[in-house]
């Protein structure tokens, strides 16, 4: 590593500036949300043509007014609850369908299992924007319009393929010998799975839970298509669609809602990032 002298110092400075630039680009909207969420309206709505007023800083003392409005007078808490309610059910369905399928693909199927697992993963590429039209017919047919059950029914279409793929990759890293030795000791395969494999697979299961949940919280298109009552909306639709009254935007409360919803998700993602990457790159990294 030749990082000596002026050349090295310049390169280090260049490197730090590069990192700083990218980080600034990435977090600027969140910084902007945070500043907006705590500014007084008189400080917020000045107009960008007034160059004497610096919008980056608090020109008046910060206020909690927007947060009080968000939690006190809007349906934001209800939307949070709706989102978590759908999320919980979707996670349950995803595990119920995904775990057995992943085990089967990892252990009990031969060559065709490998092809099948790729086919299952490819269904993750089919976008919501292609399926929302047929789903709107299906939802109408089942009488689920404007009900959260419609989302519970449909969200597993993207969580099941992704989580099955993730779990399959994880289960393949567990040595086969664990359940084989349990089976030699007289267990059936099913009880070996339940008693030996699943406890060892807890980190993988946790990853699947986190991603099923975050994908559900992030989903926008289906929720926008199927839920029309404001009180039944999820966070990702309620905030952009129903927090805006007529043409009046409550930017302070809006930005507070965006920030409060996004940051916990980002923390979760960061924590499980390596497994997430592995889910996308299995096969491409050797």
């Amino acid at each position: 590593m030749a990082r000596r002298g002026w050349g090295g110092a310049l390169r280090t400075i260049g490197h730090r500036l590069l990192i700083l630039g990218f980080t600034g680009f990435a977090i600027f909207p969140f910084y902007w949300m945070a500043v907006t969420a705590f500014k007084q309206n008189a400080d917020l709505y000045v107009g960008a043509s007034n160059t004497a007023h610096n919008p980056f800083i608090f020109n008046r003392p910060p206020t909690l007014e927007h947060l009080q409005i968000l939690f006190g007078t809007t349906l934001y808490p209800t939307w949070l609850f709706n989102t978590l309610w759908v999320g919980g059910l979707v996670v349950a369905i995803t595990l119920l369908l995904g775990v057995p399928a992943a085990y089967s693909l990892a252990r009990l199927t031969g060559r065709w299992g490998e092809h099948l697992s790729i086919a299952i993963f490819l269904t993750y590429l089919i976008p919501s924007t292609l399926l929302f039209i047929p789903f709107s017919r299906l939802v109408a047919l089942l009488g689920l319009q404007n009900q959260l059950w419609a989302l519970v029914l449909i969200y597993p279409t993207f969580t099941v393929p992704f989580c099955t793929w993730l779990l399959m990759g994880f289960l393949k890293t567990l040595p086969k010998e664990i359940e084989e030795s349990a089976m030699v000791d007289g267990c059936s395969r099913m009880s070996a799975i339940v008693r030996v494999v699943l406890p060892l697979a807890v980190p993988g299961l946790l990853t699947a839970v986190i991603f099923a949940l975050t994908l559900t919280i992030q989903e926008f298109v289906y929720s926008l298509t199927f839920i029309s009552s404001v009180s039944r909306m999820t966070v990702s639709v309620g905030v952009p669609v129903a927090l805006v009254r007529g043409d009046v935007y409550y930017w302070g409360s809006l930005m507070a809602a965006c920030l409060i919803t996004s940051v916990p998700l980002a923390l979760l993602y960061n924590f499980f990032l390596d497994r997430f990457i592995a889910g996308f790159t299995v096969g491409a990294i050797k």
């Binding site: 490197h15 980080t23 990435a26 977090i27 600027f28 909207p29 969140f30 949300m33 960008a48 043509s49 919008p55 980056f56 369908l97 995904g98 057995p100 399928a101 252990r107 009990l108 790729i118 490819l122 269904t123 976008p127 924007t129 292609l130 929302f132 039209i133 047929p134 789903f135 017919r137 299906l138 109408a140 029914l153 099941v160 393929p161 567990l174 040595p175 395969r189 975050t214 992030q218 966070v235 990702s236 905030v239 952009p240 930017w251 930005m255 965006c258 919803t261 998700l265 980002a266 993602y269 990032l273 390596d274 497994r275 990457i277 592995a278 996308f280 790159t281 096969g283 491409a284 050797k286």
Partner: protein
């Protein structure tokens, strides 16, 4: 999951021959519910989308009749649709090109050790982790017609003179710039972490061996890094293209396709016609135009996975 774990697990993966009949039966039983669900709620709706595009079906009534290719003919004759088709490719191509260039620079910068790397990784990941609709809302405020902070900065540095103003979301060209900016901002973290995983997976020994053989930085880039990164590069591009090509959230929330339908993409136009406008057949036909590129991407994906198996 590390690559070494995968490598260790590979030798014992020679299965198939050792599976008993009972195991195969159990495997089918365990797989059946997930497959049935995917068949009923992905495959069947997909076919239904194709079917609906051939009908005059509309929202609010379950009656329809076959109209053949009439929807497709109508759609192709519409300037709004042709504009949306063009926009979809421009958005996807430009934003993915920028994401790949910037992502490679950023991933290489993140390879070097420096203090606060974990914090930087967390911050850089924020745009990807935030729900897309809420992140776009943040940008909607940044691009606001009266309070845009970008305009404030341009005023301060003197780029915008007195009386000059940018209406970011009220102008076809600036609207496209805004939409592409948001796409690049959102996809950059995703591509960067995938490229980073690819870069770290190249064993150090290969670079050391090349150094001993007297390879320069240029020939190392072209003969080692790029060939070894190719599969992972393809994966990053593939998902980036699919996620951008099929997205409607950014356009829907920023410009609603306006002004005068000039910034629509296929997906947002299909939503506008098929869901809001109630013309299900037309909306389905518009969405079907997403399929050829998706099929192409799927084929590329299959090729990579096959090659990875062979290598």
């Amino acid at each position: 999951m590390t690559t070494t774990e995968i490598a260790l697990a590979t030798p014992s993966r020679s299965r198939g021959a050792s599976l008993s009949r009972r195991d195969i039966r159990l495997g089918e039983i365990l797989l059946a519910p997930a497959l049935a669900y995917i068949f009923l709620l992905v495959a069947v709706p997909f076919l239904l989308a194709v079917f609906l595009s051939l009908t005059n079906s509309s929202a609010g009534s379950l009656q329809f009749s076959f109209v053949g290719l009439q929807n497709f003919r109508a759609v192709l004759g519409s300037p709004v649709f042709r504009r949306a088709l063009w926009n979809t490719f421009v958005f996807t191509f430009v934003s993915q090109f920028l994401v790949m260039v910037l992502g490679n620079i950023l991933a290489r910068a993140l390879m070097k050790p420096f203090r606060g790397k974990l914090l930087v990784r967390f911050l850089i990941l924020l745009p990807w982790a935030a729900p897309i609709s809420l992140a776009t809302l943040g940008w909607l405020w940044i691009f606001d017609s009266t309070f845009s902070v970008i305009n404030w900065m341009l005023k301060v540095v003197g780029w915008l003179g007195p009386g000059q103003w940018y209406y970011w979301l009220g102008d076809p060209v600036l609207g496209m710039v805004a939409i592409i900016t948001v796409h690049v901002w959102r996809m950059l973290p995703f591509s960067t972490v995938i490229l980073l995983a690819g870069l770290t997976s190249i064993p150090k020994e290969i670079h050391e061996a090349a150094d001993i053989d007297g390879a320069g930085p240029l020939s190392k880039t072209f003969q080692i890094t790029i060939p070894m990164m190719l599969p992972i590069l393809t994966v990053a591009i593939l998902f980036g293209v699919v996620f951008t090509f099929t997205d409607m959230s950014v356009v829907y929330l920023l410009t609603r396709g306006g002004p005068y339908n000039s910034t629509h993409v296929l997906a947002s136009l299909a939503f506008q016609d098929g869901v809001l406008g109630g013309d299900v057949g037309r909306g389905a036909a518009e969405a079907i135009f997403l399929v050829p590129l998706l099929v192409l991407m799927a084929v590329v994906m299959l090729r990579i996975s096959r090659r990875a198996e062979v290598v």
